[in-house]
Symmetry: C3
Subunit: 342 residues, 3 copies
């Protein structure tokens, strides 16, 4: 067999390192496409001059582009036979991605746990995105439930890695040179500073976008993510194409501009759950909650820990039902750190 059938649970071993295939050079075309696919308006990623007043040489590519490309590279090796994407933790953006950079990805298996049904198991990987200089641009832990190919394969020793509930503010990496002391709030679109946000504050981002098959497939392909369920109507019993969870992340992050226009850079991913599937025709909306605040050593730069919730309807600010489970209209519950002018 010359084609890749994907790894099954028993194919992973603790400590295994996988170098994922097909590095990808990204340039300004990818930035233009990001603006076409999502209503992205954070000024730092839209204007070279705005980025320069913030101490950067020019606009980096959107932080989510780095995430999507690195994630996409892992799919053929990690999630081709996955039943579910269970969670993220400990995500850090370690340096911006610039036009011309080439990204590749590497994953280490840091945990394994066979499920009691004997048919599936949970694989924990720490994935690192590297650029052409072998510098780390991104790292995160992800765990997925994977089918066993051979149900008679012996269960591995159970190892569940300790994972931080939140990335400590002191561990956040601030891009070199970043300086918000000359920040232009008029050009950025909103007057709200770090000090204007309070822990517990909730923001309804108001706008909604109804999503189409062509759009989510183009977005997902752009990141070279090949998971069948996003593209092939024969891959799921009901003939629907499941929208890549990252598409919902980027859509919600872009919608959050309205109220969080100054939450410019995403630097930490504390956790995230794709609560319910998103399908073509759904109208994605978003709301946020300020979970924490922290200072940083960079001039004029503070950090906000934000919960970003994407929904396909229902009232904002409702997350879980009485049973503790996500409400059926909740698509995404993401917990991240963003950098904001003081």
């Amino acid at each position: 067999m010359k084609t890749n059938a994907g790894r099954f649970f028993e194919d992973y071993t603790l400590g295994q390192v996988i170098d994922h295939a097909v590095p990808r050079t990204v340039k300004m075309g990818e930035r233009a496409l990001y603006h076409m696919l999502y209503p992205a308006r954070h000024a730092l990623y839209s204007s070279d001059q705005f980025a320069q007043t913030c101490g950067l040489p020019f606009s980096p590519l959107d932080d989510m582009i780095a995430f999507h490309i690195v994630f996409g590279k892992t799919v053929p090796d990690v999630s081709l036979n996955a039943v579910a994407n269970l969670g993220y933790a400990g995500g850090r953006w370690k340096m911006p991605v610039w036009p011309g950079d080439t990204l590749r990805a590497r994953s280490e298996v840091i945990g394994l746990k066979q499920n009691s049904n004997g048919k599936t198991g949970v694989v924990y990987v720490r994935t690192t995105g590297l650029n052409q200089h072998d510098e780390e641009v991104l790292e995160y832990v992800r765990w997925v439930m994977v089918r066993k190919g051979d149900v008679d394969a012996l269960a591995p020793e159970t190892v569940v890695p300790e994972m931080p509930k939140v990335v400590a503010p002191s561990a956040l990496v601030i891009p070199k040179g970043l300086d918000f002391t000359n920040y232009d709030f008029t050009l950025a679109g909103e007057p709200h500073r770090w000090g204007d946000y309070e822990i517990g504050e909730q923001i309804d981002h108001v706008d909604g976008v109804t999503v189409e098959e062509a759009e989510h497939m183009m977005a997902t392909r752009l990141w070279q993510n090949t998971a069948k369920v996003h593209f092939d109507t024969s891959a799921r019993p009901d003939g629907s194409r499941l929208i890549y969870g990252g598409h919902v992340i980027s859509m919600a992050r872009a919608l959050s501009f309205n109220g969080l226009a100054n939450a410019q850079m995403v630097v930490g991913l504390n956790g995230g759950a794709h609560a319910n599937p998103c399908l073509s025709g759904d109208t994605i909306r978003a709301w946020s909650e300020v979970l924490d605040k922290a200072e940083t050593r960079a001039p004029g730069v503070g950090a906000l820990r934000l919960r970003l919730v994407a929904t396909k309807g229902g009232d904002p600010f409702k997350l879980r039902g009485d049973d503790g489970k996500y409400l059926p209209d909740v698509l995404l519950d993401l917990d991240y750190w963003a950098l904001v002018p003081l």
Copy 2:
């Protein structure tokens, strides 16, 4: 409230200047996308070498890209609560937009008129597009009908600005260096010169394009235009998404290649009306009428004043019914100046 609810009629005052947010750096990616979204084939915008034989350093970005980006920037400040986009006048492209330029927009309120119903009013703004050197790349006047937020707010003094019916040929700005004396009609695609067009001549552009939701949403997002009605099926009672009028402008302009392949550059916008809404599934066609001709001081360069009409059916060359109103199949009636080789 941290989100932008948009300005209401009573929030505008005569002489008010609004610096619109989120400057945007455009590069070659945006050009590639323009070619993907519209059947654009004017050679000056397609080939660097063709542009060089016309005296330019390389291909500028399509003139409509400048218009769409500048227009998009004004939406959150001008038309979020607009009931209708009523008209354009006095539009001039003042210099080409080059890859690498960063565009922003500024509007001045030049007229206000409350409607007799007391619930809405007309706001007249002169919008200017600026590049990173603070050079003006585009200006136009636009007037929109805007809802009052507080119906009890006092009506402002009525000021209706005088607006030119047409931009005088002497006021058109010819891009520096433009020279059509070595124009290559074979590579441009048609042999028709300025002298071959007669005032009153009508041209059926023959081709049609059936439009899709995914396409118009991607186009509109690309220009960072956030008006809800284009994206959110819950924004209008019938669940349809209204296609951004500029999408119809660009589609019709591109279709006009067939018969007007040598009407290379758009330099003046005399007026325009979005006669009827365009929805996904409509097949856009276009016809043109030569309204006027003028000479310019640039070598080999003449100007044609053209009416560009987009329709979604019906016979070409029919614009209004016996009642003087636009026929229901007419989408757009645009009056512009284009530069054409002598």
Copy 3:
């Protein structure tokens, strides 16, 4: 009439040379779009660094981009009144297309044959794609059935050119500098070398992509292909839009990564048939067969002659029915040469 009604069969003469209009400068934006439109993952076209380890200065644009742009340029002159695209032969990519290149196309009429019904005829053209240095980047022969405009026009002398069944391996042009001796199979995604493929071997590429109207129209427009049937629901009696055959070629080629990840460069087009129409909603799958193998003079570089079949269903490896005709689910039968590491 200022619009182009297209040539009819009687408008072609043997030896006629047509310089096609509208040259096109391509840059990195077109590469980004190619990755968005197709699940393309061949590493040589994805990573500048990977291309450098293969002896090239950086990643060229996908070979199919050159084909689509050159083909698109010929449409207004060759196939506007075509009834059917009958075949290809003798195709050779003669040098890579680099970002910044400007492509144009020229065709020579090398054969003419009026059909016995007196209403149509077959036109054979040799099309050449040229860059801004007048270097040939691509050439191929194509023959199409074209309507007569005037059925009373005299039939031309019948000339059917001799066409090679296959491009001889010695005639394939290997890009200057190409060297696969340091080829990185891990980054490329599969371990299979030239020596691992056997003549007669068949590969099911497994994955499928369900196609949408918005996607194929954007792809086809990107190549400035203006054939009505792809865009206008009123152009065909059943209201469907016929998907450009080249869209199926690119989709199938991209899907063939899974099993042919190392078939990096397409350098020869021996023949091809668009067996059945492809419409929106079809799920495209692909399978390949190794037809031949050849050595080349470039270090570490072998050539595989491959049959690439795209289908919209049915079993893989089934091509024709008992009647010798293509099965109804077969969309494409393409015969090409690819370069593969030894």
